[in-house]
């Protein structure tokens, strides 16, 4: 287990290093053909649908009706224009508000907590970690009902702050787990030096620890952002017209405009764009965060 925990940090540093670490000389013809086939299946099954959606979103409605979309059809922004004229800005802004604010709160709470679980751990740190993990076993549907009824009784429904609180709770355990796995890699000498210089805890966290684990903070932030942005169940039940988020708006849009494929594809692309951009722009950080979070 020690090996499992320590290695990825080193292995990540160079992609050439990874190649050597893989089982060498597995280039048997059969195994190469096997993995070639897998590569194609993965490609066709998992990339093509997204590309089709993208292509269709740029077609006129008549051309979009052909399935699979024709590559030769002329491209147009018609679908996007019609989508944006249907009032998607409030829900998009709501999603942005809920995702960004909850992510910031999560990081502010999770960072000190992860510190208390790793660098100077409380005695029962493993129990605390297990408590955090166990919260993931509660089905969201079970939590939804009491929260809904409670919010209803205090007239807190359709309020973006309710979603912010829910998303903060939902993402806090993951963030603590991830940040902890980054924090236990921080060299102790660094903290000792800060202490000798007389830095208090807040200052140590801010100016010594935070810069070192920036990749971890970024990865945790990205994952929290993506989870909040994509959340549907709570958003659908807890919001109405005012606090509606983008996925809820999208489901409504698809229900009412489902026959207009180009428009629907354009809507799906727009709603997915922020997370796709976030995921694509920071893939190495995401890979690091995802793998560290679970491998340890």
């Amino acid at each position: 287990m020690t090996v499992t925990a320590k290695q990825p940090a080193r292995a990540r540093q160079g992609s050439t290093g990874l190649r050597q670490e893989g089982p060498p000389g597995l280039g048997g013809r059969r195994s190469r053909a096997f993995f070639g086939i897998i590569a194609w299946i993965v490609g066709i099954l998992f990339v093509l649908p997204i590309l089709w959606m993208l292509l269709t979103s740029f077609h006129s409605e008549e051309n979009a009706a052909t399935n699979p979309p024709s590559i030769a059809a002329p491209l147009t922004l018609q679908g996007y224009r019609e989508f944006f004229s249907s009032g998607p800005w409030p829900p998009l802004l709501n999603s942005l508000t809920a995702s960004v604010i909850s992510t910031i709160i999560v990081l502010l709470l999770a960072f000190p907590a992860a510190y208390a679980l790793s660098i100077r751990p409380v005695k029962r740190w493993s129990d605390v970690m297990f408590f955090f993990l166990s919260t993931k076993m509660l089905p969201m549907v079970a939590a939804l009902l009491p929260i809904y009824l409670f919010a209803q009784s205090v007239s807190f429904l359709d309020n973006i702050w309710l979603l912010i609180i829910v998303y903060t709770t939902m993402n806090l355990p993951i963030a603590v787990w991830m940040l902890r796995s980054f924090l236990i890699e921080v060299p102790i000498e660094m903290l000792e030096a800060a202490q000798i210089d007389g830095a208090g805890l807040a200052r140590t966290l801010r100016s010594v620890v935070a810069p070192v684990i920036t990749p971890g903070l970024a990865a945790a932030a990205l994952i929290c952002f993506i989870f909040s942005w994509n959340e549907l169940l709570f958003a659908r039940v807890l919001t109405g017209t005012r606090a509606e988020t983008a996925p809820v708006f999208l489901t409504g849009f698809v229900t009412s405009q489902g026959l207009f494929l180009a428009k629907v594809c354009a809507a799906s692309i727009v709603v997915s764009l922020p997370v796709l951009a976030a995921g694509f722009g920071a893939q190495d950080k995401l890979v690091q965060g995802l793998s560290l979070g679970a491998v340890k």
Partner: protein, 327 residues
């Protein structure tokens, strides 16, 4: 355990003024210092406790009551004992439809996700940096794509009238001109849902397993190869045993996720209420409570789902973490 070693060491070494003196542990530290970590933990524990413990208690309470529109208005749930549970457990609907929909689907989705994730991870290990970056990018695209959007793409692909699958099958003569509605049949409905969930879930698994694979020493493979083991044997006799903790973690996480699947079923045609044949536990609870305002009944279904998950997780943890392997 890596965590224990590192953290244990850090506590000892961080004690001023004689950081490396182990006897420091026996000297009681000032209360303020000992409490400080708990203060740091307090906010998350309180937030999570309030928003998760309260619902658990409340949902369990409601599951023993009748709580419909009338009771919501009056504000007083009517205690009905085990009536809700009798209704849920009594009929054949739970046993013949909902439970199989939940359990069999989750089993296929978990196995599918892990097999595909492992294959992609092995593939990642074999390709050059450029191809690897491309595969990871496309995998992350599938992962970050909102479940809502992803589900619509799959519904669109299997559209009974104009879906590309219908056209392809008709093109090769496997499907008659009358077509087939994939969404009304339970089996084909869940086949599509499984595809969708695997599509959404495999990137995380693949990346995690890939990270784990890099920790298997190449010398082991070399040695086994000299002994004449082929790739298949080496995978089962070296990679799998070395990676057991990683596989354990991804299996547990996928199981928890796939039992709780909601959006992917709810958003498919019929999944939001019109076709009770395709409900799973989560959707059933949602439909009973939110669509039909039978909060007590919905609560008892939610309790049931929680219990099923709890049992499975405990069995898993027992089987997979035989020696205290989680760190």
């Amino acid at each position: 355990m890596a965590g224990t070693t590192v953290s244990g060491g850090s506590r000892a070494t961080l004690e001023p003024p004689e950081p490396r003196d182990p006897s420091l542990h026996s000297r009681p530290r000032p209360l303020r210092v000992r409490l400080r970590p708990w203060l740091l933990l307090a906010a998350p524990l309180v937030v999570i406790g309030a928003l998760l413990i309260y619902p658990i208690v409340r949902v369990a309470y409601l599951s023993f009551h009748r709580y419909g529109l009338k009771e919501v208005i009056s504000g007083h749930p009517v205690f009905t004992g085990l009536d809700n549970y009798r209704e849920v457990l009594g009929g054949s609907y739970l046993w013949k439809t909902v439970l199989p929909n939940t359990v069999v689907f989750a089993a296929f989705a978990v196995v599918g996700t892990i097999v595909l994730g492992t294959l992609v991870a092995l593939l990642l290990q074999r390709v050059g940096p450029a191809v690897r970056a491309a595969i990871i990018a496309s995998a992350l695209l599938a992962w970050a794509l909102p479940a809502v959007t992803g589900t619509y793409v799959w519904v669109w692909i299997f559209d009974p009238d104009s879906g590309v699958v219908r056209k392809m099958l008709q093109g090769v003569g496997l499907l008659g001109p009358e077509g087939f509605n994939w969404f009304t049949e339970r089996l084909s409905f869940y086949a599509i849902a499984t595809l969708n969930v695997i599509h959404h879930g495999y990137p995380f698994i693949a990346i995690t397993i890939f990270a784990g694979l890099t920790t298997v020493p190449a010398e082991l493979h070399e040695a086994a190869k000299i002994d004449g083991a082929n790739a298949w044997q080496r995978f089962w006799q070296i990679t799998v045993p070395m990676m057991r903790p990683v596989f354990a973690v991804v299996t547990i996480l996928s199981t928890i996720w796939d039992f709780k699947v909601f959006a992917q079923v709810y958003l498919m045609p019929g999944g939001s209420g019109s076709n009770p044949d395709v409900f799973n536990l989560g959707v059933w609870s949602y439909v009973e409570s939110i669509n039909r305002n039978q909060y007590g009944l919905g609560a008892s279904i939610a309790v049931l789902l929680t219990l099923v998950l709890l049992v499975i997780t405990v069995v898993y943890l027992r089987a997979l973490f035989r020696e205290d392997e989680i760190s």
